[in-house]
């Protein structure tokens, strides 16, 4: 008998330990983590944002999602195994739900048209009903009387449809199993309304005239309220921006089991399904379950851990699932093995949570265990977090400058202060050296978990930012973080070794190139792991990291390479890549040119001129709303919205100003004239010395001056004009659309039309010689053709390089590179170089087009227009490269 009792007790204990369920555990166990049960690739979005409708249906038994072919795929919730497909649809799936054994699907034939709701029996897949709905997209007009919630809400008690976004705001209730209309209501006028599906109800949050805010729970079947709570009103505003499009911020998040997070302006409150307000402090989540066996709600969201530091809300790295303890009302958060950026909670059911992140959907199971001693649930012990200031020392930074000082920063994780600084900012002794920031982004409870987060983070970086292929290795990724405001990029590096993930940041990429490997090696040494062996392809002679994107064309002139990256201009030795000088001219360089022994850089409203050899600043000119410039023939032409200024290149002194405001294209200098592409498709020819107006002519394409003739693109025509008088010498139509990418070579004039077709004309008469169509091009601007001897090289769509006979236009060969090219191919000896959309420079055999080799240079890959000293020059991911055939025995392989 005793043995039987013991066996029963043992079975019960085991059952308690292994049985998941947020409501289930007790016996002193507390939630300690989310364990990934399965993951499946899914490239689709998780929500149709303009309808607020989910593309996942979740229950404790199944996850219903849309597969690549647009069909509905049912997976076992706990294993991820596909069990069936449901339905084929004439249109796009715009919403999926599952409730009470019923799958509901919302489809539309085209945006806002042909909308249908379909219902299927979950067990059999049999169609239950289908009915048309009209869910109107009317935008979100300012002020009262608009609907801003989910347009369809499916509950076990009924389907609620919000058909309109403008008043009258109607809610329609349908029977889940039959689709018939149960009832409909019209919401009170002059109210902004938000609605979300609850566990057994629909929650409504509205803001009405009179500064009234209410939260209601309504029966999905009858649309009658179970309860209504009046919430504290937001502050009045004066003058009244509410009427000018600034209603109070309303947000409503409802957990799968019906607990609501309500935000009204800056006030956040939590409510139980029966409308009781919880004493929850929204700013202090923890991971520790203070009440043993306390029951947690299903998670509200996947997001940050709630820590907010000025300018950096990115710490810590992983996503956390946040729940409420029903007993205490406290918020609890536990980490996942994915970065929080891009993680989205698509649904919950009992102890299951489904998260979309990085092109896949994953199921997590809440696990229980004994409350950990000394550290928070689901997290690494505090002493596993390294001192961020111990990962570098002043000696490591000495190559940058002597006298760096560490500034340690401590932080609390889920309300618990970590003992060591998690961030260390190394402050330079003067403003001439860069600050360097080292942040311990995360320490996982296991190496495997850290590798998953690191892999997801680096995959996301590679997808959305330019990364440095020169320094990338299994532990380190150096990249340019794109600025959200579009004015530049910020260099960063992420290092992942063992359970630790560290991020470094500095405005100086050379500093990161120096220091990120030091941090990596320090962490490897602590784990007793060997350093990775650096490797670079033999064709890469050198690479130089600038401080930002190389957005403007770089220039090879003499034995120097000149480039602009970030806010700086650089002069590099062409053979070694060694910097000769660099100058900071602003946040980012908008224009760059080398002419007449001077380097010009445009940043903000200043044009800077430097001596190309020494880097000495010759002059600086301040204009007004400057847009672009051109230098040549001892002049500099500056286009701005205030007019066009022409400067003396030697002194920067303004010689004259034209009233022509702005330039629709880059101005051109040639033959003693300045050509300014102006408004309404008119090109103005001005005397370069005096500014005297010579003539104006229609022209909206490239301007190419050559001796006594100037060639203009005008609509679909190429025109040759007399440079002195503007009189037309000839005019030839060339295909459709605007003419661009013009090249004058000997007696031939080449131009591409907007479809990408290349036209060869006789430059003297305008007579057509031949045309060549590489296919319809959809990337602009079009790359010019390159003429080399008797051959002409051209890039077409798909990055296909075409070699043509320049005289006849006959194609000699064509080779596909790696997608869209941005630069004209260049030819040197037996090699043709082309850049590709695969972030690489390709070397092709000039005779046959056969691929010789390729070098990854980063994004966007661009090659320079000059081959100098046997080397081709390229840029990508903020680097400048010199590339050539591999020296020695490996040559040409």
């Amino acid at each position: 008998m005793l043995t039987a009792r013991a066996a029963v007790a043992l079975v019960l204990t085991v059952a308690l330990l292994v049985t998941p369920g947020s409501d289930a555990p007790s016996g002193g166990l507390v939630p300690v983590g989310w364990r990934m049960a399965w993951t499946a690739p899914d490239g689709s979005d998780s929500v149709v944002w303009h309808y607020g409708t989910p593309l996942y249906g979740v229950s404790e038994q199944v996850l219903v999602m849309v597969d690549d072919g647009g069909a509905i795929r049912v997976r076992d919730a706990r294993t991820g195994v596909p069990t069936r497909s449901v339905g084929t649809f004439d249109g796009t799936v715009a919403g999926v739900w599952v409730a009470a054994g019923t799958i509901v699907v919302f489809t539309e034939k085209e945006e806002g048209r042909g909308q249908l709701l379909h219902a299927y029996d979950l067990a059999t897949g049999a169609a239950l009903w289908r009915r048309a709905v009209s869910i109107v997209r009317e935008g979100h007009p300012p002020g009262s009387g608009s609907y801003r919630g989910q347009r369809v809400m499916v509950t076990e008690a009924g389907v609620v449809v919000a058909e309109r976004q403008l008043e009258p705001l109607t809610l329609l209730s349908l029977d889940l199993r039959s689709g018939r209309t149960l009832t409909s209501t019209v919401h009170e006028r002059n109210c902004d309304l938000l609605a979300e599906k609850g566990a057994h109800s629909v929650l409504l949050l509205d803001y009405c005239t009179g500064n009234r805010v209410r939260l209601s729970s309504v029966d999905p079947a009858t649309l009658r309220p179970f309860w209504t709570r009046t919430l504290p009103p937001p502050a009045l505003t004066f003058p009244n921006p509410r009427q000018a499009g600034d209603p109070p911020l309303l947000a409503l998040i409802v957990s799968g089991d019906g607990y609501a997070e309500v935000v009204v302006d800056e006030v956040t409150a939590f409510y139980t399904p029966d409308g009781r307000r919880l004493p929850t402090d929204p700013g202090s989540p923890t991971s520790t379950a203070t009440v043993r066996g306390g029951r947690w709600t299903e998670p509200f969201r996947a997001g940050t851990a709630g820590t907010h530091v000025s300018g950096s809300t990115r710490w810590p790295l992983p996503a956390f699932l946040t729940s409420l303890d029903r007993a205490t009302g406290r918020l609890h958060a536990l980490p996942l093995d994915v970065p929080y950026a891009g993680a989205y909670l698509v649904g919950t059911a009992g102890d299951l949570a489904f998260v979309h992140s990085g092109g896949s959907v994953s199921a997590y199971v809440l696990t229980y265990g004994a409350a950990p001693d000394g550290h928070l649930s689901g997290l690494a012990p505090d002493d596993a977090w390294p001192d961020a200031c111990g990962l570098l020392d002043a000696a490591d930074l000495r190559p940058l400058a002597d006298g760096y000082v560490p500034r340690p920063v401590t932080r609390a994780l889920l309300g618990r202060p970590l003992p060591e600084p998690v961030q260390c900012d190394w402050i330079p002794p003067s403003d001439d050296a860069p600050a360097v920031s080292v942040s311990v982004e995360w320490v996982s409870h296991s190496d495997a978990a850290a590798r998953r987060i690191f892999a997801a983070e680096t995959a996301s970086i590679k997808e959305s930012h330019a990364y440095d292929p020169v320094t990338a290795d299994p532990y380190l990724l150096d990249y340019l973080r794109s600025s959200a405001i579009g004015t530049g990029s910020e260099p960063e590096a992420v290092v992942g070794v063992g359970s630790v993930i560290v991020r470094l940041a500095s405005v100086s990429r050379p500093a990161l190139r120096l220091l990120a490997p030091v941090v990596r090696d320090e962490l490897l040494a602590r784990r007793g792991l060997p350093r990775p062996t650096p490797s670079s392809p033999p064709q890469m002679r050198w690479s130089f990291p600038t401080d930002g994107d190389v957005r403007t064309e770089f220039v090879v002139s003499g034995d120097g390479v000149y480039a602009a990256g970030g806010g700086r201009v650089y002069a590099l030795d062409a053979s070694s890549g060694r910097p000769r000088w660099a100058r900071t001219i602003g946040d980012h360089v908008a224009g760059f040119q080398v002419a007449d022994g001077q380097v010009y850089g445009l940043a903000g409203n200043f044009l800077h001129a430097f001596d190309a050899r020494t880097g000495r600043q010759k002059w600086r000119y301040q204009g007004k709303q400057l847009v672009m410039f051109t230098a040549g023939e001892g002049r500099v032409v500056l286009c701005g919205y205030g007019g066009t200024d022409v400067l003396d290149a030697a002194t920067g002194r303004r010689l004259w100003r034209s009233g022509e405001r702005g330039c629709t294209g880059r101005p051109v200098i040639g033959g003693g004239a300045v050509y300014v592409p102006g408004q309404r498709g008119i090109v103005h020819a001005l005397d370069a010395a005096t500014g005297r107006h010579r003539w104006s002519a229609r022209g909206d394409g490239d301007v190419t001056p050559a001796g006594k003739t100037v060639y203009l693109g005008t609509g679909n025509r190429v025109r040759a004009l007399d440079a002195a008088s503007g009189a037309e010498r000839w005019s030839t139509p060339v295909g459709d659309g605007a003419v661009s990418a013009t090249v004058l070579s000997g007696t031939a004039f080449y131009a591409r039309d907007s479809a990408g077709t290349l036209h060869a004309l006789d430059a003297r008469t305008g007579e057509k010689r031949w045309t060549f169509s590489p296919g319809i091009v959809d990337t602009f601007p079009l790359a010019r053709a390159t003429v080399s001897g008797s051959r002409l090289y051209l890039v077409g769509p798909g990055g296909i390089v075409h070699a043509l006979d320049a005289a006849s236009g006959t194609e000699l060969w064509s080779t596909r590179t790696g997608g869209g090219s941005v630069s004209a191919p260049i030819s040197r000896g037996d090699i043709v170089y082309a850049d590709g959309g695969d972030n690489a420079v390709h070397a092709l055999d000039s005779a046959t087009g056969a691929r010789k080799w390729r070098v990854i240079v980063g994004s966007p890959a661009a090659i320079g227009p000059v081959v100098e000293g046997g080397l081709a020059y390229a840029s990508g991911s903020g680097n400048v490269y010199a590339i050539g055939p591999a020296p020695g025995p490996g040559r040409g392989r």
């Binding site: 003058p239 921006p241 530091v309 000082v405 403003d431 001439d432 910020e490 190139r513 060694r578």
Partner: protein, 287 residues
Amino acid sequence: MARRRQGKKRTKGTAETGGDPPQEEASGGGWKAARVWLAGIGSAVLIAAIGVVFTTWYTAGGIDAVDSIGGAPPLTIGHVAVDLEERPLVLREPVSDPRDRATLLSRATGDAEMAAVLARHRVATIGATNVTVVLTGNRSSLRIIDVRPRVLVRAPPADGALLRQGTAGEAGTVELVADLDRRPVRFAAKKEPRTAYFTKQQIDLKRDERVTLSLSIVGESAYYEFDLVATVLAEDRSEEVVINGPGGVPFRLTGPADSYRSTYRGLETGGWAPISTGRDCTAVVAC
């Protein structure tokens, strides 16, 4: 009439002296108990009556009188914010103290710490500043009849350090603008710059009712320190309420300087980076 007078006199006398007539004293214990009982009832009625009167008075405006007597201002200034995120900032002095410099350059400086460093260096926006003020009514009924900037300091434009920052878009539209370069200094609607706005529009508030003022102050020709003065009418009395900037210091605004002694750019991930034209670059690592 005489009786009435006598009676009245006696009553008055009783009330004034607190003594009882001798004949009542001889009337026996029953009457005394009844008198005590009646006195208790009377007192209760009196207290209740006073309570009713007081409550009526209190709710009708007595609380205002108490607030007035207690010196409580008619408005409570709940929140004052200056939008520093939309425009370049200028510090009056360069940041030279090592601790302040570390705070400025660090990517992990908290909002309050950074604000303190900027405030110590008398941070000002260039050309315009947007101010948000939340006021709460502290009387049963009041009217804000005017709000105006009051210039406290006028000096040459600040040039200590220029802090440039990217903007995510257009600054929020603020309809009320005051130009410190023009006299008289007053708020006007953008569409009617010549008309003092508060001569046409006033703000009525009840007790505990809040109002958020969104105000723009512009000025190009000098460095200004100023506060805001709200004139409030309550119970036929007008009072002035002075609104200072965050931290109790004046609001600041500066015109552009010809040049700045140092320049920084704001980093999206936090902190400020000096834009140094003197950074050496003859070796890759030192670039």
